[in-house]
Symmetry: C2
Subunit: 331 residues, 2 copies
């Protein structure tokens, strides 16, 4: 592989000039530039990006840490991140953690070792202190998930109020006995959604029996199994609010399997707005998060940090939408 030296030799200039031709062509005389370009072509020279990285102390690489890339919610957010990264000449190192805390740590280490210029976390299982310390030294953005009372730049929706909105909708439809399928409780976003649900119930003078609240891990199969549990109760709920769409879809499957009808016998609603919700029967009523846009904004927030701009007030709350379809019974 040809190096900058080879090019310089062939074009009879210094390596500095070759470098200039590539990075600030306007500062090089046309005739020289042409000679250099010719040499580059002749040798099929490609600058060794590692050397550039070391010299410039930047990698034009961003680490994106995701709990599960097969979840369409996250892959859609990833697309949003990529659209901006692409445009700005950044590459993305994808770190899939499968909810394994160790793996999260590994990616933080990679950042500390300068393998990337910044990191976007779509999962926030790590301790607040760890992330805040990291954010003091490196560009960090949290997206979708967040940390209570932290100043780390974050992009998300308001999960409490969205869950309230959805609960209100179910109450309006006459439901009083509502089951809730929660995501993992060690994630703030799970707790916030549940909190929104409970607050709304309380405000309407309704109690929430703990037996009606089940904790899962946001997967289809968890939704399926937890729903079976709820249906086995003496007095099963007339409606179920799932903390995300995948679990909602699992729940619907379980209800159908049980020979019951959605929404007639049991209404089901979800949270996220993945495409699948529009494909299944009945179509899923859900809270639609602006997935792509969250990715876009997260990357933009990170870019600001990379460019040295202060992001003191960097927390973005995006707007979600209650999308009423058929699985809830009606409008």
């Amino acid at each position: 592989m040809a190096t900058i030296q080879d090019v310089a030799l062939l074009a009879k200039v210094s390596t500095a000039t070759v470098s200039r031709v590539m990075r600030q062509p306007e500062t090089v005389k046309d005739a020289t530039k042409e000679r250099v370009l010719e040499a580059i072509k002749l040798l099929d020279y490609k600058p060794n990006i590692l050397a550039r990285h070391l010299r410039r102390m930047e990698t034009k690489t961003i680490i994106v840490v995701v709990p599960d890339i097969t979840n369409p919610f996250f892959s859609e957010v990833f697309l949003g991140i990529e659209s901006i990264a692409q445009e700005q000449g950044y590459q993305l190192l994808l770190g899939n953690t499968q909810n394994d805390l160790n793996r999260e740590f590994q990616y933080l280490d990679l950042l500390k070792q300068k393998k990337a210029d910044g990191i976007i976390l779509l999962t926030a299982r790590l301790k607040k202190q760890i992330i805040e310390e990291l954010a003091e030294q490196f560009p960090v953005v949290l997206a979708c998930e967040y940390i209570e009372g932290s100043r780390v730049p974050t992009v998300s929706i308001d999960n409490v109020s969205s869950a309230k909105k959805m609960t209100q909708h179910l109450l309006r439809l006459g439901h009083q006995r509502i089951g809730y399928l929660s995501g993992p409780m060690d994630i703030i976003l799970s707790r916030d959604r549940l909190r929104g649900f409970q607050q709304c119930m309380t405000e309407h003078g309704l109690s929430t029996e703990s037996i009606l609240i089940q904790e899962g891990d946001f997967t289809y199969i968890a939704g399926y199994n937890l729903m079976l549990k709820l249906m086995a109760l003496e007095n099963p709920p007339t409606a179920v609010f799932a903390g995300n769409d995948e679990m909602a879809i699992g729940a619907i499957k379980a209800i159908k399997k049980h020979g019951l009808n959605v929404p007639k016998d049991i209404a089901v609603v979800g949270f996220d707005g993945i495409q699948l919700g529009t494909i299944i029967q009945p179509r899923l009523t859900t809270i639609v998060q602006p997935m792509f846009e969250m990715g876009v904004q997260a990357m933009k927030l990170l870019l600001k940090q990379l460019e040295g701009e202060p992001v003191s007030e960097g927390t973005l709350v995006l707007q979600e939408k209650l999308w009423i379809r058929n699985s809830c019974g009606s409008l």
Copy 2:
């Protein structure tokens, strides 16, 4: 950020020794090693990986080029790749091309610039010659897709015979007028599946009207729209074979929307074996590809190349399965 120099100074050793402690600890005397480790801890030293990359001329990074990461087929293959990469200390740079040829080129360039040690292509829109030239200079593996008559190491299933198998199944069920929803024709794998379909029809003395063969882009929405076209025909097919599951699911949706029943009025079968096929009603009959395993084998093939092993006979044909569920009418 502390450098190896700082550690050396603090531990009163040379940088060489510090480096040894990290990479060949057994060659360093215990007492010295301890001093160094202490210094490392004290300074919270993390080796600058960029310098290591440059010095060693390797990045421990692999580029994975994917046409569409939101397609669960590809994200599942990605998981397989990652499982091995992780275990061997490699990171993955994910390149999503959205079927854009330019983007594919960009990632090849990145490889040439040594941003990664190798590349796995899950999409093969590039010209044969280009990929072969690349493969002569760098570790390259094709997965899922492939190039006709090329010696580039590849992992895939036999698409022709799988499509034949599926067509046979439809014929066994008594269908004679079968529609085919193809993927993009500039992809060999699309052409191979279609070829398998046509060969099987011909062998059974059945003709395939070109009007019954529609080309799409492997997306849900394409399946939906193409199916509407087929249903608008004077003499619509009694069964439809879609080149992948997403299109099959789109087709099912279109048929239902039209007020018809799957499989009673029109049978539908797919190809790939994504989880969604088991969630929808009716459950999708399909060819199940070993997605995760394909990723695993692809990464293993790449590792062999990275380790300098010859991969002359490196083409792997994995076994697929015909999974009969409800959307085809029966067994």
